[in-house]
Structures are given as C-alpha cells and as structure tokens.
Symmetry: C2
Subunit: 192 residues, 2 copies
C-alpha cells in the first residue's frame, strides 16, 4: 500500500485549477467605441517578448473586437473596485456602454488605439501576437508594448508594490485578497 | 485635469502581472524516467475542452520531454510542500532525479504515460493540443484528460475544497496563501 493519501478520480475540468488572476480587458471597435470584459483565465506566457494571454469565448462581443483590431488592454483592478469589475462580467457591451455603466474612465492608450481604465492601478497595453483556437474559448496572447501604473503604487526601481495595489484574484472560483506573504520569494531560477 | 491618480510609465514586462498559480509540471523521457519542473506562469485556457497552459523555456530539459511525448501532468502543491516544490525549480532534471531529491513519489498516470506527484492533492493529466512559440518561453496548452484529488480534499459533488488543499501561489513574485475569502464568488456569467 502506497504511503500517500487515497486519490479520488474527478471529472476532468478546469474547475480543479485554483488561482485565477482577475483582469479587466479593454478593447474597441473600428469607430473607437471602447468595451470592457472581465476575465479570470489569464496569465503571463513569456518573458521576452513579454506576453500575456487571456481566454475569450468566440461568441462574445469583445472577441470580435480583439480579433479585428489585434489590440487589447489588460487592467488590474483594486479590491475596492471589485463590485464594478464584476459588473463588467455580467452585462454585454453589445447593448451597453460598460465604461459609463460601471463608472470607469477610459484613458487613451499610449501605444495602442484601445483605451485603458484610469481607475485600475496597473494598465498594460498589448498587441495580439498569437491566437490559439481551443473550442469554448480562444486564448489571445498579446505582447505588452506599454505599461503604466498609478504613481502611488510604484516603488523606486519601477516595480509595482502589491500592498499599495490591494488587488484581488479568484481562488477556486471565489474572490480573495492575498493573505500574509510567506516571507519568501519565487524559485531562484528557470527550472529544467 | 482628469479626476484619477497620476500614471507613471513603466518598462513593459510581465513583472507587472500579479497573480501566478504555482504548479509542478511532470513529464517523462522515452524510457519513462520522470522529471518535475516548477512553473508559475500557468492558467486555464478554455472550458470545453478543458485546457491548461504552462510556460516552458525551450532550452530547458523538460521542454524537450513535453514536446516529444506530448503529455504532461499539472500538480497543485500544498503550502506545506513549498520548500521542495521550490527546490524542483532550482535544480536540473538533466543531472538529477528530482523526485528522489525532493522526496516526491511518482504515481502512474491513469491516461497518460507520465506520472503525477502523489504528495500533491490535485493531479491533472494533460495531452498537448497546442504550442505557441513566443520567444523566451513556449506556451504549452494541454487538454485535461484525467483528474484526481486526495480523498480528504474532495467535497460531495466532486469539487476540490480550497481550504483543505491549503495551497500557495505567487503574488507579484512572492509566495502567498490566499487570505480570507471575500464572501462572494466570481462573476455570474461569461462576459461580453
């Protein structure tokens, strides 16, 4: 008998994945009308070039906008803005102006023609470099071509201070703030 | 003057991304010799089929193994195992047997010919369905073809209980446990 806990077989699914970084993805139509989509399936994908991936269902209004413009913004919301961040995940930009409805302010992109969200402390502008057609969702990978943050959250060497951002993420589907840091940093080098 | 905080331009990079789900990716060579690689750039990419992406640098030993076998395991470590999870990110499987060195037990895959890690409470078996060649890292996307969890962390309806797992993630580069849940769940529907 193996010396480890008994395993139970589960239905294969992404519900067993655990930590989901909540981002507000901005995009715009050909006339410059902007939209916001709330995405929790997102990740950094490569360091050089710096890329970020986001999962968007093909049927969604924002999907067509991103595919057409090949640009999107990745905005990291504060915990204090969770209510309206969540709202942007529950209504459609086809019928409503989500910036107006959620009370967010569009801030013109520095490099892309898609705005970012002024109220989000971290704003990354991305150019689409790869699309993986997977089924229920496409995985859009964008290169980070411009990055901005609120002055109040930036520390000396151009890094973002997590405590100042006071962000939020989804942990097995439930929103959480990070707890006390474990007094140690990530592994020291690229693994093999 | 706009009614929002002053923004500072930063060097574009993935260091400004914030929440990184730490996973131990398992793989194996043609002779069945297994390896473990510690990855924090990972995410669910689509719901149907259920897929998970992980970033692996092409120069790494594990990269060749995954590309050749087109299979990998995604194992979610407990906070209590952080020390040895981290160790797997700091040594190379080319020279060392990481299972032996870290004291992890390989458990044969149910569907794939790559083992999972017995000591990790959640084990997902993936078949490679897409590779995005991005530069410093390739983004490997695998379909979850089998899922298992420790009996002690599974609740009635086949879900994993986050509190029982007592997991860990990397938050702007620093390991954290999730704090108190915010008493609300993720947005109610796919956003548009």
């Amino acid at each position: 008998m193996a010396d480890h806990p008994k395993k139970v077989e589960l239905t294969p699914g992404i519900g067993h994945f655990y930590s989901w970084p909540l981002v507000l993805v901005t995009c715009a139509d050909g006339q410059g009308k902007p939209n916001i989509i709330t995405i929790a399936a997102s990740a950094a994908c490569s360091a050089t070039p710096p890329t970020i991936g986001v999962a968007v269902a093909p049927a969604r209004y924002s999907h067509g906008l991103i595919a057409a413009s090949e640009e999107f913004g990745v905005n990291i919301p504060r915990k204090a803005d969770l209510e309206r961040a969540d709202l942007c995940g529950s209504i459609s930009g086809r019928e409503e102006d989500k910036f107006a409805r959620a009370g967010f302010t569009p801030l013109a992109g520095l490099v892309i023609s898609v705005p970012v969200i002024a109220e989000c402390p971290v704003n990354l502008e991305c150019r689409l470099v790869h699309t993986a057609h997977l089924g229920s969702h496409d995985w859009f990978i964008g290169e980070v071509v411009s990055a901005r943050a609120d002055e109040s959250v930036v520390v000396g060497d151009g890094r973002v201070d997590p405590v100042e951002v006071d962000g939020v993420f989804s942990w097995w589907g439930q929103y959480c703030s990070p707890g006390t840091p474990l007094d140690r940093w990530g592994f020291s080098q690229d693994s093999e």
